[in-house]
Amino acid sequence: MHAAPTQNGTPFQYSEAARAEVLGLMKNYPEGRGKSAILRALHIAQEENHGWLSVAAMDEVAATLGITPIEVYEVASFYSMFNLQPVGKYVLEFCHTGPCAIEGAERIIEYTKLKLGIGKNQITPDGMFTIKQVECLGACGYAPMMQVGEFYHEHLTENKIDQFIEDCRAGKIDKGTWKMH
């Protein structure tokens, strides 16, 4: 089951494996340039913090990289993949840009919102789903599409959405993780 999201003040620490990974990534850059690992460090923190970045999570990233918290906040708030508010267990990120839109993305998004009873960026009451509308994900030829975790779900239809949501509820959907590789 999905654990309740941590609140802003809840302490966050990387797992030992994640910390080791981040410290290792810093070595991909020249001496003193370890800050370059920040985006991946934030991705990893977000995953370990139930899909979003609390202030505590960003502070942990700053401490690990040896930079000031503001350097992390300003980066985290720039990039659209970082969620600065709690999200559901499954974040359905629908592309709604041009090529997807002409293939019916808007209809699929509307359908999913009605089905789950939520608007964009909201969480279903059971904490299972969040819908995000995002810009072009590079799947224009396989539209409409959504990304959930690591995976792209392409050529979406209403039936596929029904099946997907059912499978999520049955615990059959693997989102993919940074740790599985």
Binding site: S80, E103, R107, C140
Partner: protein, 450 residues
């Protein structure tokens, strides 16, 4: 069958692994370059090939490489731009997913030519699974001795790393990409200095698109002159085209730059024609930033000549009657599509993706988005059409990076070619609203006959 230089083995079982890639001629370019050629000779071959940057701007690659400053004792960097996020473009994803070693082989060859001992691939955050495909391929290349110290006994050292983004179109602009790679917000830098003089960590840096770097492999294998024999005029070699929209066969295609747009659009080898027997209304041939072409200017230029899939022919007629090859994001619209809605959609994209650094772009993109949104929803005024043109004019050329231009061009072109459709939205507010409210259940109705 057309000749394929990049995707020849893309469908081969196991081609993403080192063994299969190597068995099919992989890493010959690295062998040839490191064992038989000087770095300058590699640059010369690329110059001879006429290769032009495949990311969108089409700048000659060999010339870009020759601008790289080489001060003593300062490291130089090669950075691969894999932040593919131009709407309509998904070719780099296909290439990296299918044949990751081709990019790595290109990176080694190009890094050797430039004298870079550390190189980075910057991949967009959403392609996270490809990050792991690339990292696996890189570790295979290290294990086989193609990366690391003293490669092939040549005395040349190279380390290659992948850096992941986190969702920002602007990071496809090369100086924004470098800022991001340095662990900062992706705000483009003022140029000059250009990256070739002061790039990553203030060191001389070359930033090239995935496809550009991959193309170095066949250029070294076959020679620049051979490569230059493919294509037409200054559009040499092959180009990956991402085809999407209302066509029968969307997907990624490698074309020789000598076929016509008509052939590409209607032949079964490529797009296979318009879906559901509909008529062509418009086409955006090079990603969302380039001007849209109305149906009568897609296959023919204004002079009545056949339009070709080349840099020159697609831009024939300038912005008045032409467009650009751009990143090769070929988006096709059938007769049912609404140009105003599509233009609004693209404007929303640019408003979302503007980094906010320059006022004309930060303010202009969201003004255009709001004005187009109200037109599309039946609340527009006739004066809005000229207002849009005016806002676009004040953005173009007035920003640090080309995002301002990229946001202005599609709006200008849509108004230039489909003005009556914009006017229809003002004259028929009720129909606009009905159409939009019916969106969930009914297809978008045709507004202007093709």
């Amino acid at each position: 069958m057309a000749r394929k230089l990049l995707l020849e083995h893309a469908q081969l079982e196991g081609i993403s692994t080192y063994e299969v890639y190597r068995k099919n001629g992989g890493y010959r370019a690295v062998e040839k370059a490191l064992k038989t050629m000087s770095p300058d000779a590699v640059v010369e071959e690329v110059k001879k090939s006429g290769l032009r940057g495949r990311g969108g701007a089409g700048f000659p690659t060999g010339m870009k490489w020759s601008f790289l400053a080489k001060p003593e004792g300062v490291p130089r960097y090669l950075v691969c731009n894999a932040d593919e996020s131009e709407p309509g473009t998904f070719k780099d994803r296909y290439l990296m997913e299918k044949i990751p070693h081709l990019l790595i082989e290109g990176m080694i060859t190009a890094s050797y030519a430039l004298g870079a001992n550390t190189s980075y691939i910057y991949i967009r955050g959403e392609y996270s699974w490809i990050l792991f495909i690339l990292e696996k391929a890189i570790s295979e290349a290290y294990a086989a001795g193609w990366l690391g110290k003293n490669i092939l006994g040549s005395g040349y050292d190279l380390d290659l790393y992948v850096n992941i983004g986190a969702g920002a179109y602007i990071c496809g602009e090369e100086t924004a990409l470098l800022e991001s790679l340095e662990g900062k917000r992706g705000n483009p830098r003022i140029k000059p200095p250009f990256p070739a003089i002061k790039g990553l960590w203030q060191s001389p840096t070359v930033v090239n698109n995935v496809e550009t770097i991959a193309a170095v492999v066949p250029i070294i294998n076959e020679g620049g002159d051979e490569y230059a024999k493919i294509g037409t005029g200054k559009s040499t070699g092959t180009k990956l085209i991402s085809a999407s929209g209302n066509i029968n066969k969307p997907g990624v295609y490698e074309i020789e730059m000598s076929i016509s747009v008509e052939e590409f659009l209607y032949s079964d080898e490529w797009c296979g024609g318009i879906k559901n027997g509909k008529k062509l209304k418009a086409c955006v041939p090079g990603g969302s930033s380039v001007p849209i072409l109305p149906h009568f200017l897609v296959c023919k230029t204004a002079n009545g000549e056949n339009r070709m899939m080349t840099y020159e022919s697609l831009s024939d007629g300038g912005f008045a009657t032409g467009s650009m090859l751009g990143s090769g994001g070929f988006i096709v619209y059938d007769e049912d599509q609404c140009i105003v809605r599509n233009t609004w959609n693209f404007s929303r994209f640019y408003a979302h993706e503007s980094c906010g650094q320059c006022s004309p772009c930060r303010e202009g993109t969201s003004w255009m988005e709001k004005v187009l949104h109200r037109m599309e929803n039946g609340q527009g005024k006739m004066s809005d059409i000229d207002l849009l043109t005016d806002v676009a004019k004040n953005m173009e050329g007035n920003t640090i990076c080309p995002l301002g231009d990229a946001a202005a061009w599609p709006v200008n072109a849509a108004i230039r070619h489909f003005r009556e459709e914009f006017e229809w939205h003002v004259k028929e507010p009720k129909l606009c609203l009905e159409r939009n409210y019916g969106l969930v259940h009914e297809p978008v109705a045709n507004t202007i006959a093709v």
